[in-house]
């Protein structure tokens, strides 16, 4: 009995605690935003793991789909529920924003899934590194399309999502963004888990093992690839939508190849084909990224204390992006298969399996 519901219980407890703390304002806005970005990163890394880990393709344009989701859901939300200089007055009463919000985010996901077809169709014939290039090109194409549409701000970006979040909080006084990020994070992990462990989803790992053999064994590889790519990019779109509403502002520059690189790093750091690895590495990576904000001034003070560097040179935050890749390279040298390899948490600690069931 406990074994059956322990995961539900643990999730409800974690989510409840976080949301209660947010509600009571025990946690500062900064910590809340880190927690929310953690959720977004978890969605991104698990969804990319579906393609790069489970299906064995090499997609490196994940941020492009995130961008589609972010723009579609923020435009839809602002058009429907907020007064804006692009779309004019709100179409519907902002009170309904509360109920429509998950639908808006899901619509962003659907739009991103449709953009995923852009990559899925060439993948019928192309594979390996040629597909990698198609995904990179798709990322560039999406970004520069949006940059060229002046009506939605072009490269300056698009804003106004904060009003929607505020109007949700006006109706019912709850921290809505943390709630939805938490819900969608759990939702996407659940969807991916259900998908890859289903009978139909076994075809995904069959493709990664041997595509030709899979096809002979009656796996419809084209259909499989289309569905997997669409699911993966759709979830990325959901993450993008959440990202947009957390920040309240999107611009195409934040979804460039650098963002895709971050997601790739999270996947390979966690281990290919390991869902718990992706979750873990997304959490670790977000913490790492933020912790350097505090570590670097300490290093700077230390270096000045002992006159290791000249007094007129300060170690600035730029060093963050030197130290993090360095750390990751060293990590890869010691664990060339990522944190978890292709195993799940239950495979590494078999005893844990006694306490939970997660399907």
């Amino acid at each position: 009995m406990l074994r059956r519901y322990s995961v539900h219980l643990a999730l409800a407890l974690t989510g409840g605690t976080i949301i209660y703390c947010a509600y009571q304002e025990y946690l500062s806005l900064y910590i809340m935003s880190i927690l929310m970005f953690m959720g977004v990163n978890i969605i991104l890394s698990t969804s990319l793991n579906l393609v790069n880990g489970y299906m064995g393709e090499f997609s490196c344009g994940h941020a492009g789909f995130m961008c589609v989701g972010a723009y579609v859901s923020s435009m839809l939300g602002v058009w429907l529920f907020a007064k804006d200089k692009v779309f004019g007055a709100a179409v519907l009463d902002p009170e309904y924003a509360l109920y429509a919000f998950p639908l808006i985010i899901l619509t962003g996901g659907v739009a991103a899934a449709l953009a995923g077809v852009l990559v899925a169709v060439p993948s019928y014939k192309t594979r390996g590194d040629y597909l990698a290039i198609i995904t990179i090109a798709a990322n560039f194409i999406i970004i520069s399309t949006i940059e060229n549409i002046g009506a939605i701000g072009g490269s300056r970006g698009f804003m106004g999502m904060k009003r929607l979040v505020n109007s949700m909080e006006d109706v019912v006084e709850l921290p809505w963004m943390p709630i939805w990020v938490f819900v969608f994070t759990i939702f996407s992990i659940w969807v991916i888990r259900r998908y890859v462990s289903s009978t139909f989803g076994k075809g995904v790992s069959a493709i990664s093992q041997d595509e030709v053999a899979a096809e002979i064994m009656s796996v419809n590889t084209n259909k499989m690839k289309t569905i997997t790519f669409m699911l993966s990019s759709g979830l990325a779109g959901i993450a993008g939508g959440l990202f947009a509403y957390i920040l309240g502002y999107v611009n195409p520059g934040s979804f460039n190849i650098m963002k895709s690189t971050e997601v790739l790093v999270m996947v390979y750091l966690g281990g290919m084909g390991s869902l718990s690895g992706s979750v873990l590495s997304a959490i670790l990576f977000t913490l790492l990224l933020e912790s350097f904000r505090f570590i670097i001034p300490v290093i700077n003070d230390f270096a000045h204390q002992f006159h290791l560097i000249s007094p007129d040179y300060d170690i600035s935050q730029v060093w963050r992006w030197v130290l993090i890749p360095l750390l990751l390279i060293i990590l890869m040298q010691f664990r060339p298969e990522g944190i978890m390899g292709n195993r799940e948490l239950g495979d590494i600690f078999p005893r844990l399996k006694r306490f939970y069931r997660f399907k």
């Binding site: 790069n52 090499f58 169709v121 060439p122 014939k125 192309t126 590194d129 040629y130 990698a132 290039i133 198609i134 990179i136 090109a137 798709a138 560039f140 194409i141 520069s144 399309t145 940059e147 060229n148 041997d210 595509e211 030709v212 053999a213 002979i216 190849i257 690189t261 790739l264 790093v265 390979y268 290919m272 170690i315 600035s316 730029v318 060093w319 963050r320 992006w321 030197v322 890749p325 360095l326 990751l328 390279i329 890869m332 040298q333 060339p336 298969e337 990522g338």
Partner: protein, 303 residues
């Protein structure tokens, strides 16, 4: 009309030369190791910076005349940049390869190396852009309305010479034969007494050396340097290499010029913000039409 066409062709050739020079480095490494060396664009950037420091040293500290400085600068830049490339291979890629890590982990390491090069440069040298000192006097020639400079012609000729040299190395020399052998079967090659690691080092020397040369030429043509100059041009050159058929020297060369031509043509007819959009869409269409690139050979998969 005719003048503007010829003018655009010359511009496209010059712009494509840079892509071709960088794409050659990508394709060499890929052909031998099947490793997408994502740090290559940043090696190009490092090459431009090395050229900057070397030439400033020659011009101001030693007060050499411009052409002497250039003559010394070319080999020195190439050697130093090649050393950067080999260092990356030595400390980052080789240990992973020896451990038998999945190929994509090496690719991620390459991405990380590129980030380190970019941001270390930004952190150490600061965000201010560097102005490259003029090494040679730029002459502008005007023949029948078509203007070109001696620098442009030099860039195009260099790209062609480098291509011919690399093609000769790969197809005619013993090292090139070993390279082709490694790309054919990585496990049988050491058994034949071919020193695998040395050949790989030679590949990195060639690729990075010519990236350094491209950096020098780029810095001479567009004399403003910034740490991010290598990132976008590197990605684009990689795409060019793939469109040509990655692993094939001719493919990289042709792909580079193709990308250059498409970009210049787009800029000639559309607003320049459409450049990336249309160029990438064209490349995507080429890849959909020929999934293994222009010169790529589709591998038959056996079970």
């Amino acid at each position: 009309m005719l003048e503007s066409i010829i003018q655009n062709i010359i511009n496209a050739l010059q712009w494509g030369s840079f892509y071709a020079l960088i794409a050659l480095g990508y394709t060499l490494v890929y052909g031998v190791l099947t490793l997408i060396n994502f740090a290559h664009g940043d090696v190009f950037m490092v090459g431009a910076y090395i050229a900057f420091f070397v030439s400033t040293f020659f011009l101001s500290a030693l007060a050499l005349p411009g052409w002497v400085a250039l003559a010394l600068c070319i080999p020195l830049t190439m050697i130093l940049t090649a050393m950067v490339g080999v260092t990356l291979e030595r400390i980052a890629y080789r240990p992973l390869r020896k451990k038998g890590a999945h190929r994509l982990y090496v690719v991620i390491t390459a991405l990380m190396c590129g980030l380190i090069l970019e941001h270390a440069n930004l952190a150490i040298l600061g965000a201010s852009r560097k102005a490259f000192p003029p090494l040679i006097e730029v002459h502008v020639y005007n023949i029948g309305g078509v203007t070109f400079t001696n620098l442009k012609v030099a860039v195009i000729i260099t790209a062609i010479l480098v291509f011919l040299f690399l093609h000769w190395v790969v197809t005619k020399t013993r090292v090139g034969m070993a390279m082709r052998a490694i790309s054919y079967d990585k496990f049988a090659v050491p058994l034949m007494g071919i020193p695998l690691d040395q050949i790989i080092v030679v590949t990195f020397v060639l690729g990075s050396g010519f990236a350094g040369l491209a950096g020098l030429l780029f810095a001479m043509s567009y004399p403003v340097l910034d740490p991010y100059m290598g990132a976008l041009i590197g990605w684009k050159a990689f795409i060019a290499a793939v469109v040509g058929g990655i692993g094939d020297i001719r493919g990289a060369f042709l792909g580079g010029f193709l990308l250059g031509a498409v970009e210049i043509m787009v800029v000639a007819f559309f607003p320049s913000t459409f450049r990336d959009l249309i160029a990438f869409s064209v490349l995507l269409m080429i890849l959909t039409w020929k999934p293994t690139g222009l010169f790529g050979i589709a591998k038959t998969t056996k079970i």
